[in-house]
């Protein structure tokens, strides 16, 4: 379970991005965090991966207080909480397969077991025939699929998708959303950060709306109401 208790985040002692956030997300949940640009959605994700530290409050993940996390433990946290981004963030000089194997190798996988895991992941995201292609040889949707396969290589308990369909057309968007649903069905907590009204309304999931750094609403099976 992820818990935010009285979280506040102030940048440069003046910009108050998050104010008094109290929130809990159960294991295996699928949650959409929505809000306008600059409302604080991405900052919330950054706090979960310890990329940023809150100015006040406590964040716990399965009773692990990550606001007090030591630098040496951050890589371990990031292998449990995988993140996919709008700009894919693939390693440009590595092929699709190498991008995924890099994540496997970070996790300590090796040998034939690792190779079959990579092949399986490529099949899951539907890119079995593009394993040797470099990112620049793939379409946006394909690149995002590689990014998802790479995220799954960690066997993460939580997957944060920060505007994962922002650069994709409607067909690819649908494909990615289906993948995310499949991942959730396998028991992984999925947190989808977006400002796309159509996506949110089509999912019919729990929706947390952030406005001006505060939780404006938190509804199960909600709709986009901003």
């Amino acid at each position: 379970m992820i818990e935010f208790k009285n979280i506040g985040k102030i940048y440069n002692n003046s910009v108050n991005v998050l104010k008094d956030i109290n929130l809990s997300i159960d294991n295996g949940e699928y949650v959409c965090i929505i809000g306008r640009s600059g409302s604080g959605k991405t900052t919330l994700a950054k706090l979960m991966t310890a990329e940023e530290k809150p100015t006040s409050g406590v964040i716990t993940i399965d009773d692990w207080d990550i606001t007090k996390i030591k630098k040496k433990d951050i890589p371990s946290l990031r292998r449990q909480i995988a993140v996919i981004f709008q700009d894919f963030r693939l390693l440009p000089k590595k092929t699709a397969k190498e991008n995924i194997s890099f994540a496997c190798e970070i996790s300590g996988d090796f040998g034939s077991k690792m190779n079959s895991k990579i092949d399986q992941l490529l099949q899951v995201v539907g890119l079995g025939d593009k394993s040797k292609n470099y990112p620049f040889e793939l379409s946006g949707g394909e690149q995002q699929r590689v990014a998802i396969a790479r995220a799954l290589a960690f066997n993460p308990s939580i997957l944060i998708a920060d505007e994962p369909t922002g650069n994709l057309d409607s067909i690819n968007t649908e494909g990615i959303l289906t993948l995310l649903q499949d991942i959730n069905n396998m028991g992984t907590t999925v947190i989808l950060i977006t400002h796309d009204k159509e996506i949110v309304n089509s999912l019919n999931k729990r929706i947390i709306t952030i406005e001006d750094g505060r939780i404006a609403s938190d509804r199960v099976n909600g709709k986009y109401l901003i």
Binding site: R79, L91, P92, K93, F102, E105, I106, G108, F154
Partner: protein, 305 residues
């Protein structure tokens, strides 16, 4: 597991080396130029030092013994001088040998030769030719000779004639050594800064890659070690190429340098080649230190976890 991890890090670094061709090319070129610059300066240093030493070796001081000195006295003088600090060798030239040498030197002057032949006795005394370890030792040796127990048997020395030359050579040597040291340090510093900044730019251009690895939760070794190894590959490639280029330059210049330095009876290229090994090894060690330092410094900036 250690070997698997090491093999992976090695794989990442070789991939980076070959897949970032232009970056590798620029980096290696900079390193080749830096190394060749240092090698050339080192070569100039070795050659000039050897030329100065060879001129110095040609310098000696003649001590002319009075005609009245007996052979025993002459050998006693020779033994005492040979035992002095800084004396490299003392060569004895007998009265007869000195006379023969004199005649040989002036055989075109019949008046002088005839005059000598008219004399009943040999007017030329024996000579001791003294060579010192260093040109700085001559003043001490001659100072000693002017005061020792046999001083009355000494006719003259040619030290005064040679004093000016020795002093000029010493001054020239000191100036050249200081000059080469200064220029060497200056260009060494410039080369080090160039290599350091090239590596920083290389890593800066790949900062995005480092950031992604950081996001993925890669550990210190997974992020930094491949970049450091890659930088070491640049250095070693640059070093090997610079040796090839430098030695090719020497072989190419050999015929020209031998004509240019015909007065100096040593093959400059053959002199520089073996003596450059120290410079080449030192520059590799210093280069490695700069490379590792620079890489760690640059990566740390982008790999803050």
């Amino acid at each position: 597991m250690f070997f698997i991890t090491f093999a992976r890090l090695l794989k990442y670094s070789t991939q980076g080396f070959f897949r970032n061709f232009w970056l590798s090319f620029v980096c290696i070129t900079t390193m080749v130029l830096a190394f060749v610059l240092i090698d050339v300066l080192g070569g100039i240093g070795i050659a000039s030092n050897d030329i100065v030493n060879s001129v110095k070796n040609k310098i000696d001081v003649s001590i002319y013994i009075k005609n009245t000195a007996t052979d025993d006295q002459i050998f006693a003088i020779k033994t005492e001088i040979a035992g002095l600090r800084g004396v490299k060798s003392v060569v004895y030239t007998s009265k007869q040998q000195a006379l023969d040498d004199f005649k040989k030197r002036h055989n075109d002057n019949s008046l002088l030769i005839n005059s000598l032949n008219e004399l009943d006795t040999n007017p030329i005394g024996a000579t001791l030719i003294v060579k010192a370890d260093s040109t700085n030792d001559y003043s001490y040796i001659l100072e000693y000779v002017s005061q020792f127990q046999y001083k009355d048997l000494i006719e003259d020395t040619n030290y005064t004639d040679n004093k000016l030359i020795i002093s000029k050579i010493n001054t020239f040597n000191v100036t050249i050594s200081k000059g080469i040291l200064f220029v060497g340090l200056f260009f060494g510093f410039i080369s080090a800064i160039t290599v350091l900044n090239t590596l920083r730019i290389t890593i800066y251009s790949r900062r995005r890659e480092i950031e992604i690895m950081r996001f993925l939760g890669a550990s210190w070794s997974f992020i930094k070690v491949p970049f450091i190894l890659e930088a070491i590959f640049y250095l070693i490639a640059g070093w090997i190429l610079s040796i090839g280029l430098y030695y090719s330059m020497l072989i190419f210049l050999a015929p020209y340098s031998n004509v240019f330095f015909s007065f100096y009876q040593t093959d400059i290229v053959k002199l520089i080649m073996p003596n450059s090994i120290n410079t080449i090894i030192v520059e590799l060690v210093i280069g490695l230190a700069i490379t590792v330092f620079s890489s760690i410094l640059s990566i740390r900036k982008y790999a803050k976890v």
